[in-house]
Amino acid sequence: MLYREVGQYKSSYAADMAVFPILQDRIGVAVILLVAFVVLPLVSSNFLLNTVLIPFLIFSLAAIGLNLLTGYTGLLSLGTGAFMGVGAYACLKLTTFFPNVDVIVWILASGFVSAAVGVLFGLPSLRIKGFYLAVATLAAQFFLEWCFIRIPWLYNYSVSGAIEVPLRTFMGVPITGPNATALTRYLIVLSIVVALTWVASNLVHGRIGRMWMSVRDMDLAAELIGIRLFHAKLLAFAVSSFYCGVAGAMMVFLWYGGAEADVFAIDQSFLVLFMVIIGGLGTLIGSFFGAALIYILPIALRTIPSAFGLPIRPAAAEQLTFVIVGALIIMFLVVEPNGLARLWQIGKQKLRVWPFPY
């Protein structure tokens, strides 16, 4: 209905292969970016930024990371939380060693550490796949979690055993630590997420994305067109872990401001996996949808009853959240196993062919 595609013809392959070939989509993306960068900073309260927007963006990035591995390459991983943790601890160590280098650099650099660890634990993917590989990633999860607790060097021997985020400034403005404002942190997180999403989109729309999807859809055929499965899989592990690592570093440095090892426990892995599946495997936009639903839904469930003046015990609210989220996951899978992104696509397709049904 809103799509008016008459006259949108492509006279070059570059235009035809663009990520958003339809004008209306490009306008939509521009509007979203405008809202995210200009409107939301103007109207959002600290509460909204801290409890909704910042975590939503961070989880979206983690979900993109896992989606590159699970959705695009078809390798199931249950170690997301640990890879996020690697990013967080790596960032702490890096900024401790080089306090004068901007922390944003270290947030991004910590992704590389995570990528290296990811490759290490991706090695078994040479021989195993499917659920077997999932169990291998569990090994990574539990081993790394153990490292976070048992190796005091990682958390700078702090008494609490937790990461304590130091104050770091960028051109005089505090960006991490207790003095950093929510708005500053939001804008940094947003910029990083937007940039990395763009990069991920570039990757999946090009040769590498096709390579991954080939491995996912039919690994034997992929090998027979000359793709080295091992390389493709390890690359997916590396890139995926990079994203998760950056997300983890942002989580501690730009959101929590400090964290213990249990933040990166297996629950976090599952949470991100939910986001990816509910959002839609193999779609970037689905990662955002999934993060929104899985992260924001519980918040809404907690706040809505009190907003209507219904007294509800915090514990009961939490338990109810579990029930509802669990039921919703099953319901979503029943209604649309391909996730919210698929629903979105169907809706978009409906709008494109409107008024016709197909």
Binding site: E5, P355, P357
Partner: protein
């Protein structure tokens, strides 16, 4: 902006002019290899020049005839102009014609050269080469599959252009010589021979001069204010005069861009991508699109269907008034705006019609429902009446004076009169130069003082002052009791139902009128799906009693409307049957422009006609058919004849018919 001037009296001259004035604007686009390849006027001149000089090197000279065979692709259009620049005359041929049909035209036109699309056409020419003594050279666009062919008389388009380009480099005089050749062309020169696939007998070669076509084209451009900003899509057969004028001469005269679709199957998608502003189509196209709309909407959800029906009905009431700029209440305008957002706009957009400024229907009568539908949703659809012999334009409807049942007023510079026998006659600058190698026939059609017999019976509508066409003059007959019998008039009424694709009415010199009907497989197939009717073939569906019931209802409604008209009331349909196969041009039942070849059909189906009038309730028929790949077979069937009850003639409410 029009490219006018007395010195611009040939198409090649227009090309050179446009290359100079519109150099960087797009002249043609072609969706090929997945994207729209474009040529500016300057680039197109270069391409055409190279080809033209290459052709000259191959021996093409002034007065030669050369064939153009294939679908709408830039290179075939270029070949026309390249030949014309040398003074040679293009003879476009229907690409889907079988080799045998093609052989007649090519032999008659004495073509010395063929420019063809691909292997398929090359094969056809090779198959009949012994009947084409003049043919010396064949040039093909698409090299695929032709690698191992004997290339002694075969050459690729690229190679010919290569020869031309080499010559341009090696011979400094060449360019000037070529340009001098173009300048030597005159408006009165023969520019093209278009073979009309007549509904009777062999086709005739209509000779048109540059003047004929260019003046007609300029008048048409001025009439609808067309300029270099138009986008059109070329999808009609190259051999049809409509395409020649509309996608070629008018484009050169106005300087607008012609777009060639990727394949014939992707025209709708391609039109949508380009967003054409000016369109020209036979009623069948508008009808098919409407049928598609109806069929697809039938599958929509309940709410959406209701909404669609509501807004379409609303548009039926007000849309045309709004389009014609009449005053309507504000509420209506508002609701129409909402309708435009929800239904009309998206609908036109789906079919790539939202940027249309002017769309014409021509060639045949269009169903008033169909015509009004498109106007109601906001597309400026108009009617025109034209002929190959007139370089298309005889009459056209000016903006704001649109009627479903007339074909408009005389086009600029055209005079029209109705002969005593009721035949429409015209005189104009577009009047053709005669039939090729057939002066007798030419003299028969063109009177000494320049009037042309159209062969159509018609009259001027007293209310609107516009021309109305009833039927082919020679087809209008009478029943035994003297009642007027205009078969096409009746057939058109039937064909306006989406379920009926084609109809043949018989009744001249008989006691009553009968009809043979072809169902529309898309519409009836979709109906069958919704109603759980199972069928394996067209034949089976056509014989289904439920389908018969449905068609009988349509026939009944047609009868009722005929009863309303004084002179037609006696010509109601008494008996009908549904044919077991689709009428097909490959079997000679239709012309290549999909018109009925009435005589041929009544011969072929004479057992059915006999059964109509000897009271049988069923009839056996065997017919030879030609399959897509050219081989022939026989299909036979026993068809049911359905009896209809006529309505008594009513006192005529003649407000429209008179």
């Amino acid at each position: 902006m029009q490219s006018t001037g007395p010195d611009l009296d040939t198409v090649p001259k227009l090309l050179m002019h446009n290359a100079g004035t519109l150099g960087s604007r797009p002249a043609m686009r072609h969706k090929d290899f997945g994207i729209w390849q474009a040529w500016t006027w300057a680039q197109m001149l270069e391409e055409i020049r190279a080809l033209s000089i290459g052709l000259a090197e191959l021996g093409v000279k002034r007065g030669d005839k050369f064939a153009i065979i294939g679908s709408n692709r830039p290179r075939l259009y270029w070949a026309m102009c390249a030949g014309q620049a040398l003074g040679a005359v293009p003879v476009p041929v229907y690409a889907d014609a079988v080799a045998d049909e093609m052989a007649y035209v090519l032999a008659h036109a004495e073509v010395t050269l063929g420019v063809v699309e691909d292997q398929e056409q090359v094969d056809k020419l090779i198959a009949v080469s012994d009947r084409l003594p003049h043919l010396q050279q064949v040039i093909y666009d698409e090299p695929r599959g032709l690698k191992d062919y004997d290339h002694s008389r075969l050459m690729s388009f690229d190679d010919v252009q290569g020869i031309g380009r080499k010559k341009l480099v090696s011979d400094p005089q060449c360019l000037a010589q070529w340009e001098a050749g173009v300048a030597a062309g005159k408006g009165s020169d023969l520019s093209v021979i278009l073979y009309t696939s007549g509904t009777t007998g062999r086709s005739k070669g209509v000779m048109l001069t540059f003047e004929n076509t260019i003046i007609s084209a300029r008048n048409a451009n001025a009439f609808d204010h067309l300029d270099q900003n138009e986008e059109v899509i070329a999808y009609l057969p190259l051999a049809w005069v409509g395409d020649y004028i509309f996608s070629y001469v008018q484009a050169y005269a106005a300087g607008y861009c012609v777009n060639c679709p990727e394949t014939p199957d992707t025209v709708v998608q391609d039109r949508r991508e380009i967003g054409t502003t000016y369109a020209f189509a036979p009623p069948r196209v508008y009808e098919n699109v409407l049928t598609l709309t109806t069929v697809r909407m039938a599958d929509a959800g309940w709410l959406k269907r209701k909404m669609f029906d509501f807004f379409i009905a609303f548009a039926g009431r007000w849309g045309e008034k709004i389009l014609d700029g009449e005053r309507v209440p504000l509420g209506v305008r508002l609701l129409y705006g909402i309708g435009n957002l929800l239904v009309y706009g998206p609908l036109l957009n789906q079919f790539g019609l939202s940027r249309i400024r002017v769309a014409y229907t021509a060639g045949e009568a269009i169903g008033p429902e169909i015509f009004r539908f498109w106007r109601a949703v906001g597309m400026n659809l108009k009617q025109l009446y034209g002929q190959t012999e007139a370089s298309v334009y005889v009459t056209a409807q000016p903006d704001g004076e649109i009627h479903a049942d007339t074909v408009g007023k005389a086009s600029p510079d055209v005079e029209i009169k109705i002969s005593d026998s009721g035949e429409v006659m015209f005189r104009s600058p577009g009047v053709f130069a005669g039939y090729y190698k057939d002066p007798d026939k030419s003299a028969e059609v063109i009177t000494a003082d320049g009037w042309v017999h159209t062969g159509d019976a018609g009259f001027f509508d007293p209310k609107s002052g516009q021309l109305r066409i009833i039927d082919r003059a020679k087809d209008v007959g009478r029943l035994k009791d003297g009642t007027l019998f205009a078969p096409k008039y009746i057939e058109n009424k039937l064909k306006f139902y989406p379920n009926i694709r084609e109809a043949v009415a018989v009744g001249a010199d008989r006691d009553f009128v009968c009809a043979m009907i072809n169902i529309d497989l898309t519409a009836v197939g979709s109906w069958a799906e919704r109603n759980g009717v199972v069928y394996a073939s067209y034949q089976e569906l056509a014989a289904n009693p439920l389908v018969y019931d449905m068609i009988a209802q349509h026939v009944d409604e047609v009868n009722r409307s005929l009863a309303d008209e004084e002179i037609m009331a006696g010509a109601q349909i008494r008996r009908f049957l549904i044919l077991h196969k689709e009428l097909d041009a490959d079997d000679g039942e239709l012309t290549r422009t999909q018109k009925l070849r009435r005589g041929h059909i009544t011969d072929r189906y004479s057992p059915l006609v006999d059964a109509f009038y000897n009271g049988s309730t069923t009839a056996q028929i065997s017919t030879e058919v030609t399959f897509d790949d050219g081989h022939k077979g026989v299909i036979s069937a026993r068809l049911t004849i359905r009896e209809m009850r006529p309505y008594p003639a009513r006192v005529a409410k003649m407000e429209r018919a008179a």
